[in-house]
């Protein structure tokens, strides 16, 4: 009950934060002088094409770009009626991409959930690999198990992602017949969801997950090992041994629970780090994620598109931190009952 109340409270604060973030994003996007259309108009004027100018002027009115900045923001978010009534982010209208000349929703469409899919897969990979290896390395500290896992971990950290991607593609294709590039069979792009498509996506997902997750996993493994070693020296571990617990049961019940807290707290940071970190990888691997789109949008001042992508990343981050906060409260009674001194 307590936790549910906290979760609701935390959700409320998340929405507030999102509102503040939206203001920041809007201001930052509008910081460079001009906008996509005024740049275009200037360009057309210079080359004497007046017909194009008219169309651009029309678009400026259509998207309320001639209004003051605060009104533009209100219209964009859907707090204020624009030229076509209430039609903004909260009404589900994400705007128009001038660069691609299509609605933002259409451009981003599939890549939105592919981004989430790739990154969630990578996060899962990080936890699944780092957790057992980190615990094992700590329990067998200063033995060959520890040294081997540390060596492999440092290799993972030190290898550049794109290089790893190329190597894995080459050998994956050669020995396991894994596909190269993309997140699904090109024939299935734009097709409705089917069992075949899911299978194709899953096979395509193997290499990207590995590439994006490796460095995160090795970093987390090393930190988990260090945390576990700290915890193993604590008196409560000795108490557990003196009770007659078996080592494996003792390890997972007591020190791991305590050492695990920082990793739960990490979920929020992990998501955005992976998304921004995977932009380069996405370009190299030809993944249809949101990363490359964001890059183009920012370069061409395509404001509605970049605004939407940034909002999306912010939302992911906030959801990540909210999940980790709620999980922490569930996991650690000390945080639940904490009293702060004024």
């Amino acid at each position: 009950m307590e936790i549910l109340r906290y979760a609701i409270y935390r959700f409320g604060t998340m929405l507030l934060t999102l509102l503040v973030v939206s203001v920041l994003i809007f201001v930052i996007i509008n910081l460079p002088p001009g906008d996509y259309l005024s740049n275009q108009i200037a360009e057309l004027r210079a080359s004497g094409q007046s017909s194009g100018v008219e169309k651009a002027e029309f678009l400026r009115k259509e998207y309320a770009l001639d209004k003051p900045l605060w009104q533009q923001y209100m219209i964009w978010m859907g707090f204020m009626p624009g030229p076509h009534g209430f039609s903004g982010m909260i009404q589900g209208n994400f705007g128009w991409s001038f660069e691609f000349d299509r609605p933002v929703a259409e451009i981003v469409g599939e890549s939105l959930w592919l981004t989430v899919l790739v990154n969630v897969a990578a996060v899962l990979f990080v936890y699944l690999v780092a957790l057992p290896l980190g615990v094992l390395a700590a329990a067998r500290a200063r033995t060959w198990v520890d040294y081997t896992s540390a060596f492999v971990g440092y290799l993972g950290l030190a290898t550049p992602n794109f290089l790893l991607a190329l190597i894995l593609f080459y050998y994956g294709h050669k020995y396991f017949d894994l596909p190269i590039g993309g997140l699904m069979d090109p024939a299935m792009e734009g097709e409705p969801m089917s069992w075949e498509k899911v299978k194709s996506i899953l096979i395509h997902l193997i290499v990207p997950t590995f590439v994006i997750g490796t460095s995160g996993a090795s970093a987390m493994m090393q930190r988990l090992r260090a945390n576990m070693l700290d915890e193993l020296g604590k008196p409560y571990v000795e108490t557990a041994v003196a009770k007659g617990m078996s080592p494996s049961r003792m390890l997972t019940k007591y020190p791991l629970r305590v050492a695990f807290n920082p990793f739960v707290a990490d979920i929020g940071n992990l998501l955005p780090a992976m998304i921004s970190g995977s932009v380069l990888v996405s370009v190299v691997l030809g993944l249809q994620t949101i990363g490359p789109t964001l890059l183009t949008a920012l370069k061409t001042q395509d404001m509605f598109l970049s605004g939407f992508v940034l909002m999306f990343v912010a939302l992911l981050t906030l959801i990540g931190t909210m999940i980790s906060d709620v999980l922490l409260v569930m996991l650690d009674p000390r945080i639940r009952y904490e009293e702060r001194q004024r």
């Binding site: 409270y9 604590k234 008196p235 409560y236 000795e238 108490t239 557990a240 041994v241 003196a242 009770k243 007659g244 617990m245 078996s246 019940k253 007591y254 629970r257 305590v258 996991l331 650690d332 009674p333 000390r334 009952y337 904490e338 009293e339 702060r340 001194q341 004024r342």
Partner: protein, 591 residues
């Protein structure tokens, strides 16, 4: 009677070093208590951990036997028992209680879960089947509300209650042998008395044997039938408690005895202190903290750390504030040093010299504060963490002079060398790092550092509680010598009446933020009035088997103020005033 456990010629060492425990022999019979006594580094803890084979990884048992005759009857050598069988023994036949109840319980699991686990492991019981036994055990060890304790987390309990939970965890499987490693060292004296009483009662009920590891001869006298005195890994003396404590044969045992601070049996009360030249005065000092709840909708709670403190310290004398954890004694010291401001209305006045204008410590500006810091210094509790491990002794010592911009390089160094000599160390040690010093030497360094600015007031916050008894004795002696030689005044914070007995000229006993009794120590011990003071004195374990702790007296005074006799009784914060009962002796009571 055949012994339950006999340890023969036990030797333990780390790596390739000299053994840290050598040829140790002792044995315990059912129902008997044996005490392993010694100072830190004597090998007493390592020896008893060897019995459960929970030694640090680098330590190996080099030789010896540990013959165990448990309920099964067959004699088994614990040294060579396979790990799996050892596991069945731990917690079931041999249980252990550790020193730090604060850290020996997992912070993230409920108490009921951690205690019940012993039964799931050994009895193969389910959580619900074990629950009843655990609740009974909680009731037995004195939890007022077992159901609630079952669901509590360790951080919701006080230190004494946590140690009770540890005892419950050790007792729930009804072991044949209980190993208690300094079970009460981290507790307040009155709590210690109650926990010791509880352990003894439980032992009489169940007939288990007990190995008690301790540094405190007073605890030994109250608990043990057999005593083994250890020093540097060897047994110095062993025998029945009556023999060893009554007539210690070995010089080391005698030295331990002489060093143990004791509350003196005072024949006469002392005359009241002169009050003409006061170096420090605290008038109506109160301090309240507001604790805000973690949630926005909960009401903040108000904590009264200090209430209506009126204390004055005569120049060249020592005023001791004695109290248990949470009594407000440290808050009082921090206010005296200006590190914390009293609530409005309170005043702290400091007179650097007899004739100088008093400094209002509660309202200092920057310049006065800097000047005040030269006159008032502090010696901290833990010499291990109060010196930076990365600074040479010399750098740590001249730092105060650098901060106050006094002298030049060579004069500063000379001053540091001089101060080292004053505290009984050698000037050659200036270039060393703190890790090269023992605990006692480090505390000497802290004292030397406090003296660098030539202060007139020193606040000592439990300066000896982290030290061994024999070292404690030396540090107290040193503090006394320096006080008399340099005409210093001490505000001495302690939880230990016996320590205070020798150094203080006046003692203020604090309980829950209030002074309950105040007098020169001789008067206080000759004629204690307040039930809480009486409890403190009674709870002090004495190294003589003829004078056991009077648990009734302890329980009477250590309870909450509304359980005190009518004359002293009050509830909440509406306390009676501090009344002068004889010259220089004040007691908080109804007239």
């Amino acid at each position: 009677m055949t012994p339950l456990l006999s340890v023969e010629n036990l030797s333990i060492g780390f790596g390739h070093e000299e053994p840290v425990v050598q040829d140790v022999n002792f044995s315990v019979s059912p129902g008997e208590t044996i005490a392993l006594v010694g100072e830190s580094g004597s090998g007493k803890t390592i020896s008893c951990r060897a019995v459960l084979r929970i030694l640090p990884k680098a330590a190996q048992i080099r030789s010896g036997k540990m013959i165990w005759r448990g309920t099964g009857g067959a004699a088994r050598d614990l040294r060579s028992l396979p790990e799996r069988q050892m596991r069945d023994l731990r917690g079931n036949e041999i249980a252990m209680i550790f020193q730090e109840p604060m850290r020996s319980l997992s912070p993230l699991h409920r108490i009921g879960n951690q205690v019940g686990e012993v039964l799931w492991l050994h009895g193969g019981k389910s959580e619900s089947a074990a629950r009843k036994e655990v609740l009974e055990c909680f009731e037995r060890v004195g939890f007022p509300d077992p159901e609630r304790t079952y669901k509590s987390y360790p951080f919701e309990l006080s230190g004494g209650m946590r140690q009770r939970a540890m005892i419950a965890m050790a007792m729930v499987a009804k072991p044949d042998l209980l190993i208690a490693d300094e079970p009460t060292t981290a507790l307040d004296v009155t709590t210690q008395a109650q926990v010791l009483g509880l352990m003894k009662e439980l032992q009489q009920e169940t007939g288990m044997a007990m190995i008690l590891v301790t540094h405190d001869l007073g605890v030994v006298a109250n608990m043990a039938e057999q005593v083994v005195v250890m020093h540097k890994g060897r047994v110095m003396e062993s025998g029945s408690a009556a023999d060893v404590l009554g007539a210690p044969a070995h010089p080391y045992t005698q030295a331990l005895f002489n060093a143990a601070p004791q509350i003196p049996a005072t024949p006469t009360p002392a005359p009241p202190l002169p009050r003409e030249d006061l170096i420090l005065q605290m008038k109506d000092v109160s301090k309240t903290y507001t604790l805000r709840a973690g949630k926005a909708w909960a009401k903040p709670t108000i904590v009264n750390a200090c209430m209506g403190l009126n204390l004055s310290l005569t120049r060249g004398k020592t005023l001791a504030i004695v109290g248990e954890s949470g009594s407000g004694k440290t808050t009082a010291a921090r206010i005296a040093l200006g590190a914390e401001l009293p609530d409005p209305g309170g005043e702290v006045l400091f007179r650097p010299t007899a004739t100088a204008e008093p400094v209002a410590v509660h309202a200092m500006d920057r310049a006065t504060r800097t000047a005040f810091q030269r006159d008032a210094q502090m010696v901290f509790q833990d010499p291990y963490s109060s010196l930076s491990p990365r600074m040479r002794v010399q750098d740590a010592m001249v730092e105060p002079l650098e901060i106050h911009n006094l002298g030049d390089r060579s004069s500063r160094r000379d001053r540091a060398a001089e101060m080292l000599r004053l505290v009984g160390l050698k000037p050659e040690m200036l270039l060393r790092y703190p890790h090269a010093f023992s605990g006692g030497q480090r505390q000497r360094l802290s004292i030397a550092r406090a003296l660098m600015l030539d202060p007139s007031l020193i606040v000592c916050d439990e300066p000896t509680s982290a030290l061994d008894v024999s070292v404690q004795e030396q540090i107290l002696q040193l503090l006394e010598d320096i006080r008399d030689r340099q005409n210093l005044s001490y505000l001495f914070i302690s939880h230990d009446l016996a320590v205070v007995a020798r150094i203080a000229d006046e003692v203020a006993v604090m309980r829950r933020g209030m002074v309950v009794e105040q007098a020169p120590p001789e008067t206080l011990f000759y004629n204690p009035q307040h039930p809480y003071t009486k409890a403190l004195i009674a709870a002090q374990p004495e190294p003589s088997i003829d004078r056991p702790i009077n648990l009734k007296l302890v329980a009477q005074g250590a309870g909450s103020p509304d359980s005190w006799p009518d004359r002293f009784k009050f509830s909440g914060i509406s306390a009676p005033p501090l009344v002068q009962v004889e010259p220089g002796h004040k007691v908080r009571c109804h007239v």
